[in-house]
Symmetry: C2
Subunit: 459 residues, 2 copies
Amino acid sequence: MARSKRGVRFPARRNSNELSGSEGRRSSFSDVSEDGSSRAKDALKATLEPVEEKPPTPEDQKAEYEKKKANFWTRTIWTLIMIAGFFIALFMGHIYIIAIVTAVQIISFKEVIAIANVPSRARSLKSTKSLNWYWLATTMYFLYGESVIYYFKHIVLVDKVLLPLAHHHRFISFILYVFGFVFFVASLQAGHYKFQFTNFAWTHMALYLIVVQAHFVMNNIFEGMIWFFLPAALVITNDIWAYICGIAFGRTQLIKLSPKKTVEGFVGAWIMTVIFGMLLCNLMMRSKFFICPVNDLGANIFTGLECDPNPVFLPRTYEIPQFFFLPSYPTTTITFAPLQLHALVLASFASLIAPFGGFFASGLKRSFKIKDFGDSIPGHGGMTDRMDCQFIMGFFAYMYYHTFIAVYKASVGSVLETAITRLGYDEQVELVKSMCRYLGNQGVVPEELAACIEFATRA
Amino acid sequence: MARSKRGVRFPARRNSNELSGSEGRRSSFSDVSEDGSSRAKDALKATLEPVEEKPPTPEDQKAEYEKKKANFWTRTIWTLIMIAGFFIALFMGHIYIIAIVTAVQIISFKEVIAIANVPSRARSLKSTKSLNWYWLATTMYFLYGESVIYYFKHIVLVDKVLLPLAHHHRFISFILYVFGFVFFVASLQAGHYKFQFTNFAWTHMALYLIVVQAHFVMNNIFEGMIWFFLPAALVITNDIWAYICGIAFGRTQLIKLSPKKTVEGFVGAWIMTVIFGMLLCNLMMRSKFFICPVNDLGANIFTGLECDPNPVFLPRTYEIPQFFFLPSYPTTTITFAPLQLHALVLASFASLIAPFGGFFASGLKRSFKIKDFGDSIPGHGGMTDRMDCQFIMGFFAYMYYHTFIAVYKASVGSVLETAITRLGYDEQVELVKSMCRYLGNQGVVPEELAACIEFATRA
C-alpha cells in the first residue's frame, strides 16, 4: 500500500540528511490511516503520475539538477510578475486590493475543497458540490456585510433599502445558514453518509481557515493600507529570504514536514525580515495614502487620503535608561515612531509563527499525498501554497492592531449624552460613583474629585 | 466489508416499511467510504458486539417486544428524573443552570471527540488527547470571558486585576489559540498525518457545534431565565409528544436517517408544542424571576428578581380586522402579550427545524456505525443523544431574541466601558464633573455625592 504511493515526488527529499536510506524514506510515507476509499486512491494515482523508484544514476542527477534550475527560474519570474501586479493594484486603490483578496480567497477555497472532493468524481452527489458553494456564499454574505455595516455606518444607516438589511443582518445570515443545514441533512443518502459528513466538516474547516481569516485581512485594508501591506510584505520577504538563505547556507533540516526548510534559512530570514520591516515602515509612514483609514473608496496613490494620523506614526523621543552594570554616561535620547517597535513584533511573528501556517499546509498535503494544492501559479503550485502563511498573519495583524494600536475615540459630550438620555437617575448616580472608584484605583486623585473618590473607595 | 457491519442493531429498522427485504437493508449499510483504518474497524466491532442476522422467530419477536417495553420504562423513569433535577436547579437560581449547561457541554464534547479517537487507542499519540482538551479550555476561556465582560462590565471594569484581562481578552485568547496551533503542527508525526488532521478538523467541528452553540444558550440565561427555559422546554415537549404521537398513530416513516420518526409523530408534536408553548408563556410571564435579566446572581425563585419588564411581556390590545369576504361585524378586540406570538415562532422552530439537529446527529452516528454517543443516561444513550436538538434551538433563540425582542438600553456598565476605554484621563475627570453638575442642576442631591456636586456647581 505504501509502495504504490512512494513515487510521489518531494523534490528536496533527496537532500535531506535525516532520511538517507530507502528504508527511512519508505517509513515516512507509510501512513497507517491513509487507506481511504480505494476509488479516491485510484483517482489520486492517476493525477499524480507515480514514478518508479530506482537508485539515481548520474544522468538522473543531472536531469534533476536541470529541472531544479528551470523551476528556480520559473518561480523567480512568476514571483516578480506577482509582485508587480500586486504593486499596481496597491497604488490603484483599496477597492482593487479588496478585489484581489476576494479572488484569492475564492480560488483557495476551491482548491482546498477539491482535495476532499476527489472521491465524488466517481459518485453522482451533485448536492454536495452546490452545497459547498452555498456555504461559501452565505459565509461571505455574512462577513462582507459585517464589514460594510461597521465601516460604512454613515451610509448604510441612512439608506432606506440597506437599513432593514443592516438591522437584521445577523438574523438573515443565520437563517440562510439554517437553510443550508436543513438542506444538507435532507440530502443525506444512505451509502454516502461518511463521505457527506467528511465533506461537511472539511468545508467548514476551509471556511474557517480561509474565508474567516481573509475577512480579517479585509478589515485590515479598511483600517489603512499599511495594516494590510506591512504584514503581507513581511511574509513574502520572509519567504524569499528563507529561500535565498536556505540555498546559500542551508545545512540542517528544520522540520520533517517541510524537508526544503532549513534552520539557517529560518534564522537568516528572521534577521532580514526585521531589517526589512523597519525600513519599509520608515518609507510607508511618509504617505497618508498608506496610514489613513479608508474614508474614500475612490482614493489612489495620486489623489491620496487625509486624516489625523494615529499616534503610532508620530515620532516620539525615548530616553535611553542608565544600566546599573555600566559606568554612568550622559543621558542620551533616541527619537523614532512607535510603529518601528510594532513592526519588530509583526516581523517576528511573520518569521517565527506564520511559517507554521505553511507547515500546517505541508502536513495537509502530505496526508492527502499531493504535492501542491493546484497549479494556478507556474513554479509555485496552487494559490493556497502561496497564501498558507498569509492567512494566519492577517489574523494576527488584525488582533494586534485592535489590541495595541487602534484608538477608539469618544467625546465627553457623546458619553454624557448617552448617560443623561439612556440612564435612569439611580443609574446616573451609580455611574458617578463607579467612575470615582475607578479613578481612585488608578492612583492619581485629582483635587476637585477628592471627596467623591474618598467616599466611593470607602464604601 | 459491508457484511461484517450489518449486525449493528438499529432497533426500529425491523419496523421500517421502506426496507423490508434483506437486500434493501444491506444496501443501506454498504457505505462506500466507510473503509476507514482497519484498526478503527476492529475496535468498533469489539465495542458494538455484532449480532448474526437470522430471520426473526416468534421467540425473537417476543424478546424484542419485552426489551422495547423495558426500554420504554427505563426511558420514562429517567426522563422524569431529569425533569425533576432540572426544575430544582431552575428554581435554585441562574448559577445552578449555568453549571448544568457547562457540565452538559463538556460531557457532549467528550462524547463527540471520543468517536473520532477510536483509532488512537491502538496508537500512542498522547499529544492529540491533551490538545483536544486544550482547545476546549481555550475556547471556553474565550467564550465565558466574552459573556462575563459583556454582562458584568460594572464589576470587571473597575477591578484592578480583571481590567487588564478584560482589555486584552480577545488578544490573550488568540495567543492561547496560536500556541495550540503551533503545538499541533510541531506534534505532527510521520505516519499519523491523516489521523491527526482528521482529529484537528473533528475537534474544531465539535467546538463549533457544541461549545459555541452552548455559549449562546449561556447568554440566553443571562438575558432572563425564560429565554433559556422556553426554548429548552419546547424541544423537550416536542420530543416527548413526537414519541407519544408516534407510538399512538405512527404509520409513515418521516426520514430514512431516523427510522423511529414518523410523519404522524412530527405533525402531532408540532400542534401539541405550539399549544404547550402558549400555556407555558402565560404561566412564566407572571414571575419576574423568569422574565428579568440576571442583575443578581444570588437570586432564586423565592428571593425573585426586579426589573422593568421588556414590552413583549405587557398585554396589548389588538383589533381584529374586518375581512372583506365576511359580513361586517362589530369591532372586536383581543388582548394578549406579544410574547404569545413570539412563542408561536419559537415552538414552530422547535418542531420543524430543530429536529434536523437530531437527524444530523443520527446521520453522524450511522456514518460511524454506532447506536448512541455514549451511555451516560440509562434508556436515553449519551448526553449528546438528548441534547442534539437543544444546541441549534438555543442558537436560534439567541438570534431571535437579539433581533426581534431585545431592547437596547444603555447600562451603567456600557457607559462606564466607553468612558474608561475611549476617553483620556482628563476627559474622564471632566465627565465626572459634568455629571455632578448635571445631577446638581436636577435638584435632587444624593447624600453620597454632595461634595462632588457642591464642588462642580460652585466652579
